[in-house]
């Protein structure tokens, strides 16, 4: 029952993040959605990913969004979308129904859970993933430097 409430709240936060007029409201709803996804992952039995999602998804990413909106400015003006709304709905529904038709019949059996420690799998069997994550984090640091560096340049230019 609790899972269903969390799922409903998650979907509500996602819809509000898309529908919100202001970017800051959108970022706050996204943080709420991240926190609920983290709670749901914990209920699914993945506490390690839940903790990382809570700290990174709801914490770090929200701070970056607020920082970027602060620099770029919140534009409340509503522009008409490129695609007509009914066409977008039809495309989304087609994608979801196709995926559901393929996937849902395979979810009728649940295998018994074999508990295997995450650290063994991550550090010994999937070493390439760890190396890839290090490269990603390096790229992310460069991106943050790009975000911050131009601010300093502008401040120097204006002063």
């Amino acid at each position: 029952m609790l899972e269903l409430i969390v799922i409903a709240a998650m979907i509500f936060c996602a819809v509000m993040a898309i529908r919100a007029q202001r970017l800051l409201t959108s970022a706050i709803y996204l943080a709420g959605c991240s926190a609920l996804v983290a709670l749901f992952l914990y209920q699914l039995g993945a506490p390690e990913i839940a903790v990382i999602e809570l700290s990174v998804g709801a914490g770090l990413v929200t701070i970056l969004f607020v920082f970027a909106i602060n620099i770029a400015g919140d534009d409340p003006a509503q522009h008409p979308p490129i695609l007509p709304k009914p066409m977008a709905w039809v495309l989304v529904l087609m994608a979801v129904v196709t995926a559901a038709t393929i996937l849902l019949p395979n979810y009728d059996t649940i295998l018994p859970l074999v508990s295997e420690p995450l650290d063994d799998t991550l550090w010994e069997k999937r070493t390439l993933d760890v190396i890839l994550q290090s490269v990603f984090i390096f790229a992310g640091v460069l991106g943050v430097l790009n975000l911050l560096g131009e601010t300093t340049y502008d401040q120097e230019k204006h002063s």
Binding site: I11, S26, G57, D75, Y107, D129
Partner: protein, 103 residues
């Protein structure tokens, strides 16, 4: 975990991915597009952990979900950095205004 909860979880995955795709198609603001992409990837994250749980390979699914999470965060960082730079150079975050193909 019963089968009905598993089906509800799959519906949540489809909901999140569908809302993300809809936001990507409908939004003309670059930062809003990054928000929509984040929502879609959250759906994928839940799907990976759910698939690992249903196939009794939760550790492998968690390690792959960790990679997805890191990649998603980096995509958000780079997308926001790009949006800020585009706002500086073009004075707008609207995707149709910054397009130079028609001019």
């Amino acid at each position: 975990m019963t089968v009905s909860v598993a089906v509800a979880s799959v519906c949540a995955v489809f909901g999140l991915v569908g809302i993300g795709f809809y936001g990507l198609m409908m939004s003309r603001n670059l930062i809003k597009a990054v928000v929509a992409l984040q929502i879609a990837v959250k759906g994928v994250l839940v799907a990976m952990v759910l698939a690992g749980k249903l196939n009794s390979q939760l550790a492998v699914a968690q390690s792959m979900a960790l990679t997805v999470l890191v990649a998603d965060t980096i995509v958000a960082v780079l997308g926001l950095a790009l949006a800020v730079q585009i706002r500086r150079h073009f004075g707008s975050l609207d995707t149709t205004e910054i397009s130079t193909l028609r001019k």
